[in-house]
Amino acid sequence: MASGEEDRTVEEKETNNKKRTKGAIATAWLTFYNIAMTAGWLVLAVVMVRYYLQKGTHKGLYKNIARTLKFSQTFALLEVGHCAIGIVRTSVIVTGVQVCSRIFMVWFITNSIRQIQNEESVILFVVVWTITEITRYSFYTFNLLNHLPYFIKWARYNMFIVMYPLGVIGELLTIHAALPYVRRSGMYSLRLPNKYNVSFDYYYFLIIVMLSYIPLFPQLYFHMLRQRRRVLHGEIVVEKDE
């Protein structure tokens, strides 16, 4: 009777302890992750600035930053995992779409289509990404350490208003510049006849990708605007019921 009750509270304490340790491990990992990512993108920023100061041109810059860019951006795949296991409270789909579009740009456009690597539009979106990611990851880091300077919070929720559209312009211009090379080389494409009875044309796929920015970009943009209103002005936004 009495010992039964004791056993129950001991069990509860054990579960609570487990929960607390899991929470502590998650926080420790996320803090490490966000510091590492902030550092990665800072390195990228420094390399870009140094190159431009030394050479005075953006030509050849991509080759210098290619490895760091690929590494930092691909690592961000972990963030989808963070949402999936619940240690970060964001929608898996929103994060997934964001990260996938970045991976796509890095690996399937700039990395594989060498002729467009010196385009200005590439520099545009890489600069935008760098500024955005440094702000974002330092915001997460300081948040996890419970010591968030207001200017970081301000930057995180205001800079995107300009950065987001600029980044989209950079990305779209880059894909557009890549189109003639894709068409000429027929890369990543599968023609008929073949035993799978399917075909894939990377050229038309890229056109569809460009068109998909039209519905997708406003959704992500307004999502950020809503978050901004909630965080900075404490407005209670009534979400539309489905």
Binding site: K195, N197, V198, D241
Partner: protein, 306 residues
Amino acid sequence: MGHVEILDAKTKDKLCFLDKVEPNATIGEIKSMFHKSHPQWYPARQSIRLDPKGKSLKDEDVLQYLPVGTTATFYFRDLGAQISWVTVFLTEYAGPLLIYLMFYFRVPFIYASKYDFTTSKHWVVHLACMCHSFHYVKRLLETLFVHRFSHGTMPLRNIFKNCTYYWGFAAWMAYYINHPLYTPPIYGEQQIRLALIVFLFCQIGNFSIHIALRNLRPPGSKTRKIPYPTKNPFTWIFLLVSCPNYTYELGSWLGFTLMTQCLPVAAFTLVGFIQMTVWAKGKHRSYLKEFRDYPTLRSPILPFIL
């Protein structure tokens, strides 16, 4: 005699007050009365509940058996524009039937103009057209004469979502199967014959299940009973599976994939399988919840596996 007041579930505004309501009135009748004072909200788009965030009450629920006082307070939520299940099914199935035929007959502007109105030289392409058309004609006839729907309507936006899915996939697979550069199955006649047997077997199976399910339910009723195997051997699969209609449907499309050896068909089969598994698991769970004596040997869609 009781009174009924209906409040908006979100704003709690008083929308309607019905006085002198019979205690044996059903929710369905109350919805009709509410519709008279708010003609834009026909009964199919009304969700009436006891609690603003609670579950919808059923049309058959009777006023006096609900936990309410002499004045019943209900909360109303607008479900949005509704469309009947029959309309949605007919539209989403008529599309693939017609679209596939357009590709089969090589209507102009799809393939190079020298192929306009020609026919494929591969006999499997003709067979595939017959199977695909038969499948959708069967679905249309079942919608009109066999199925007994629990719900009358679904949200209007579903018709756009569903038609995009069915029509889009039909166009995608029809384009390749009827293409002048189509490659017939590697293993030739053997592969096609096996595929056809699988396809026909599963079509008959699927139809048998639909008939068995229909016979569970008297006309116009919404009763739910556990389905059991009948004298028809195609229904004996009920011993192992809760939703054998989905099992047979998967089998039909696997057969069609084998017959056409076409990747888009495989993709369509996969996506359909994922969706049907979700539905089967849901149905299986509600069977378990509703019937305490539900047979334990049954799996949702694949015997012993899923």
